[in-house]
């Protein structure tokens, strides 16, 4: 497994992509979930009772940062199928959407734009924020392990 990491992340492009995905996704989700505020001052804040949500965001960002570059490596270097790539993108999007709709500006915009349909969607994504994030993490974890397994076989064949 370490050999696979070395092969993929020794390439600067994949390493940079991983860092960009992790940092941008983490900052975006922390902003949306109100763990970071930019106005009127930059401030970070983890309210008591919100620790689990914070940890899930970090895990989600880290898994996305691992799985997406690994699958891109498979597609670009090994010319393999894009099936697992869609799994990783799907997991990342589902996990991100879970916390996005709440009582904050995104939830307000969705409800203002789509009326009762938006309110129902917002309520669902808010009510099941933690379970949805756990499912997204599970999707990414499964994608991660199947990707590692595939890469072990494919790398033996190609290199």
């Amino acid at each position: 497994m370490i050999e696979i990491f070395k092969v993929i992340f020794s390439n600067f492009k994949f390493l940079a992509l991983s860092v960009i995905i992790f940092s941008s996704m983490m900052v975006l989700l922390l902003l949306v979930s109100e763990f970071i505020f930019l106005e009127p001052y930059f401030v970070t804040h983890i309210p008591s009772g919100s620790e689990l949500g914070f940890i899930l965001i970090i895990i989600l960002s880290a898994l996305s940062a691992l799985v997406i570059p690994m699958n891109l490596f498979r597609i670009t270097n090994l010319k393999n199928s894009k099936q697992k790539m869609s799994g990783s993108i799907f997991g990342s999007i589902v996990g991100s959407a879970a916390g996005a709709c709440s009582c904050g500006p995104i939830g307000f915009a969705v409800i203002s734009t789509f009326g009762s349909v938006g309110a129902t969607a917002t309520a669902f994504l808010t009510n099941y924020e933690i379970p949805i994030r756990v499912v997204a993490i599970a999707i990414l974890a499964i994608t991660y392990f199947t990707t590692i397994k595939s890469l072990k076989t494919e790398c033996k064949v190609h290199f």
């Binding site: 106005e39 804040h45 008591s48 919100s50 709440s102 009582c103 307000f108 309110a119 917002t122 808010t126």
Partner: protein, 221 residues
């Protein structure tokens, strides 16, 4: 002539009935509030009673929804320190203005607070809602039956409270408050305006920590 007189009589009686009916319906919307009350750019006339010293130099206007979990976070994590350091010391006061947009139970919960206010129990009821909030929106924790149960637990006159809640007496008041939020550019809850004595105001979006409020409040004192 008699026929004309009869028609005229019916007409007069009809007009009287319409006037009496309109007067009785408008009585439902009459509030015992100071309609001129404003804080900065916000009309807080139909918001909550003022919490703290009405003559305090700073007013914190909070826009909130009783089903919003971030409002719950602010209520439990930040508000106690603001109460201790600014409201109980007379440096600031607080007005809550409803921005009930999250679910179907949100406007009803906001209306219930004003029904409690009819019996001078606004803040007790407000606190009761935020202490009882459940994490799921429209899960039933703030439906009419539960709202009545909260009132019962506070020993309110249930006949008066039920009549007020069932008749939606304060429906337009809550709508007015939510419109105030939109008019003042609030795009989520909780949203705050810190209004100083010289009418300068600072907006804060979200359930921000005490340190942010402290910095702004101290700069205005």
């Amino acid at each position: 002539m008699n026929k004309k007189g009869g028609i005229l009589g019916i007409l007069v009686i009809s007009i009287i009935i319409v006037i009496v009916a309109s007067m009785s319906s408008s009585n439902n919307e009459t509030f015992d509030v100071d309609m001129t009350r404003t804080h900065g750019s916000i009309s807080t006339a139909l918001g909550s009673p003022i919490l703290g010293d009405p003559l305090a130099p700073i007013t914190i206007v909070e826009f909130g929804d009783y089903q919003c979990h971030q409002c719950y976070n602010w209520f439990h994590n930040t508000k106690p320190m603001i109460m201790r350091d600014y409201i109980e010391t007379g440096k600031a006061n607080l007005v809550f203005v409803d921005f009930a947009f999250l679910g179907k139970d949100s406007p009803k919960a906001a209306q219930a607070t004003y029904c409690a206010d009819d019996q001078n129990m606004y803040w007790e009821y407000h606190n009761s809602l935020y202490n009882s909030q459940e994490s799921k929106i429209d899960s039933g924790w703030a439906n009419s039956e539960r709202l009545k149960a909260f009132a019962f637990n506070l020993n309110l006159d249930m006949e008066l409270f039920n009549e007020c809640l069932d008749s939606e007496k304060y429906s337009k008041r809550v709508q007015y408050n939510s419109q105030q939020a939109r008019d003042n550019g609030v795009r989520g809850t909780p949203g705050f305006f810190i209004v100083g004595s010289d009418y300068d105001q600072q907006q804060i979006g979200g359930a921000q920590p005490f340190s942010v409020f402290q910095r702004i409040l101290d700069s205005m004192i």
